[in-house]
Amino acid sequence: MKLKQSFIIAILLAIISIITWEFYWRSQGNYPTLNDERSLWANTRSNVDKATKDDVVILGASRAFFDIQLQTWESITGRMPIQLASTGSSPLPTFHDIVNNTNFTGTILIGVTPGLFFSTTNTQAFPWNRPQTKVDYYKKRTYAQRLNYQLSVPLQKNFVFMSADEEEWSDDIDLKSLLRVIKMGNRTGGPVDPPFYYFGDIDSNSNMRMTKKTVTDTAFANTIIKVWHFFGAGAPPPDKESTMKFFLKDLKKFKTRGGNVVLMRCPSSGGVRAGENKGLPRNEYWDDLVKQANVKAYHFEDYESLKDLRCPEESHLSGEDADYYTKELIKLMKADNAIVNL
């Protein structure tokens, strides 16, 4: 019974190898986390279809993702917002989807990261294509894909080797990622991306929180800062005209059916903030957007309680500061009556 013996050897060796692999990565400081992936996003997106007028949906890029802490929000308002922000993304495709493909009439809180909000309406460009891919996935996901995701969650939560984020971090440990970081010179002669390491944990409600390492390890935070500077330097010029036009058209439609939109500009600091002020000056972009949109808007620089917040990697708040920012923002919105259920 040769095959039987080979099978037993294979199973034993495979189990031993996988356990060894798991413990090796844990010894390197990795821990099990959920992956920030389109399946999770689609699960969260499905909540919009059953949301009421009292619900809040958050859109935007990674700042809206990191800086609004859902549990903190829920503890104050009694209702958890639906987090649909997406890293490196323009909020416009998701806003367009909600306005045109749902009957949602609650509040949409849109995080405005100027470099992404005003980036493009070109559907093939990265800031647009990335959220659009998620929107399309939500529309087309099969029952098998939903089941796969439900089955994968307990595995992701318990095994380090199951982590493979769609962001493709430089420290991902799936086989493809491990091969991707091997470099042999620079044959193309193009700019070499700096390593981009994992710096936020996501939970099953799509709440993103900065890792402790990013807050406490300055050298590590500096690697993330390098990435922002690299992206900033290579970013194409903004396309204010078409992005504003696209947004205002959807905004008008949403307002007409009774929806409420609030804009927020989350904190940034250091070189990133300087770069933003230079490339996308506030008066030219944010102020004009607020004026034309004619909605409640909150720029962190305008409030004593927010203007001195410092981002460890110049672009996102630490978990603790994000809790504070969330509380303060709610306080401000309450005072303004900006959100109906507050």
Partner: protein, 471 residues
């Protein structure tokens, strides 16, 4: 449902548990397999299960009538009904937009200014496979080459059997239906060999195709730049490897899963990249499709019975339609046309420049065949003619200042993987995995198996769809 997904693992465990349970008799087990097959398909898109039901009902009825009807005219009508329904499904779901686009182009060349409305119809997964499979039953019944299925359940399971439902192997009625007549149970060795084949198939798909090759192929074929020759060749080689591992991986999984149920499915690939010429290639690549095309298209078109010119026409028409079977685009037709041309040129060579294949010139011939196959893959993979043409120009260094988009490690990785693939096919071309596994020590087989399991586990994969699902 994809074989490389967690839901399939759960599905397979439940199906096997029920299949080998003692409280179901054979008819109930077949009923369970049928229901499982509908769930397998329906979890992708439930309403499209109706197409399977219609196809099953029509061909079951046609087959039943053909088995008793003696009037030739009426027999032909039943055959035509089956053809119309099955090919009608294909035409509507797969070729409608293609036909409409071409109609619009032709009409508009005469200045009519006609604008067609794309219906954006979803392509039912595996429609080309199950329609061909069920049509073969009716055609064989018409030709009195096979017996009618004994029960509707046997026939429905033949149409829908989940391991090979969406991407083959395309199985003939007499090879599969007859296996359903008596209770099947895998022996311990068959069951373990089935698991081994499933492991090999998943390894090919998840590790080789998706992890090692797909990125390079996607980058090269997704580029809108004029590429450097090396990049164009490497992208093509990467796709060449990717499509083999992807498709052969699916077939190997299907054969392994069926074997775990005690059902034997035919081989679909026999080390095709070590083919000595193109006739040999089509006896080794997607064998069940090429034999289907041979039996139901090439031979009815005359085959080699009516002289050399008719033979060439039959070959070319068969390959052009074979190309169209893969996808509703002119690039697929060109792919088929190139293969048709290769087959004709090979026949001419055999006639006017015959030579003996020895072990010395064999590998060289295999390499030439492999290189020519790679050229055809450019048209298969490129979505647009412009992309394909730019790639061909780059590959033959008609592009002097093409852009380099691949890093050295990607090039090295593809060269190693595809080089090993070619050598492996050459070494294995006259043997089989089963024979080799019997010769090597059990502990080596165990270690190789464990390595594959480990690499599948750490590659994880994002549940990428198999390429052939779209055909």
């Amino acid at each position: 449902m994809l074989f490389n997904s967690l839901s399939f693992v759960l599905f397979l465990v439940v199906v096997l548990a029920l299949y080998y349970s003692k409280f179901l008799n054979w008819t109930s087990k077949k009923g369970m397999l049928l229901l499982a097959s509908y769930i397998f398909y329906g979890l992708w898109n439930p309403p499209l299960v109706a197409l399977l039901w219609i196809s099953t009902m029509v061909d079951w009825t046609a087959g039943k009538k053909l088995s008793v009807e003696e009037n030739e005219r009426k027999r032909k009508m039943w055959l035509i009904l089956s053809m119309v329904v099955n090919l009608g499904f294909l035409a509507f779901f797969k070729y409608r937009d293609f036909l409409l686009d071409n109609f619009t182009t032709v009409v508009n060349t005469y200045g009519y200014g006609y604008q067609s409305q794309s219906m954006d119809i979803i392509l039912p997964m595996g429609i080309s496979f199950y329609t061909f499979q069920t049509m073969s039953y009716t055609i064989d019944m018409y030709k009195r080459k096979t017996q009618p299925a004994k029960t509707f359940l046997d026939f429905a399971l033949y149409v829908t059997f989940f391991p090979q439902l969406v991407a083959g192997p395309i199985v003939r009625a007499q090879d599969l239906i007859t296996q359903f007549y008596e209770e099947k149970k895998a022996t311990v060795n068959q069951f373990i060999w089935g698991i081994f084949l499933l492991t090999i198939g998943l390894f090919q798909k998840v590790v080789m195709a998706d992890t090692l090759l797909s990125g390079t192929a996607d980058k090269v074929f997704g580029s809108d730049k004029l590429l450097h020759g090396v990049d164009a060749w490497i992208g093509t080689l990467a796709f060449s490897g990717q499509i083999f591992f992807d498709f052969a991986g699916y077939s190997t999984c299907a054969i392994g899963i069926a074997l775990m149920l005690g059902i034997i499915l035919p081989d679909n690939f026999k080390y095709p990249y070590a083919s000595l010429g193109f006739s040999d290639l089509w006896k080794r690549w997607h064998i069940t499709l090429s034999s289907w095309l041979r039996d139901y298209l090439y031979i009815p078109l005359g085959g080699n019975r009516y002289g050399i010119l008719r033979l060439y026409v039959a070959l070319m028409v068969t390959m052009l339609l074979g190309g169209l079977w893969h996808g509703a685009a002119w690039t697929f037709i060109v792919w088929g046309g190139l293969h048709g041309t290769y087959l004709i040129l090979e026949r001419l060579q055999r006639r006017y420049l015959p030579f003996k294949i020895t072990k010395w010139n064999g590998i060289f011939l295999a390499f030439i065949t492999f290189s020519c196959v790679n050229i055809t893959w450019v048209f298969f993979r490129a979505r647009e003619f412009d992309t394909a043409w730019n790639m061909i120009k780059s590959m033959f260094y008609m592009q002097i200042d093409g852009e380099k988009i691949l890093q050295s490690f990607s090039i090295l990785k593809v060269c190693i993987v595809v080089g090993l693939l070619f050598l492996c096919h050459w070494i294995m071309r006259n043997t089989s995995m089963k024979e080799v596994s019997l010769k090597i020590p059990l502990w080596i087989l165990g270690i190789l198996w464990a390595v594959m399991l480990f690499l599948i586990a750490i590659a994880q994969g994002s549940g990428e769809q198999f390429i052939y699902f779209q055909f």
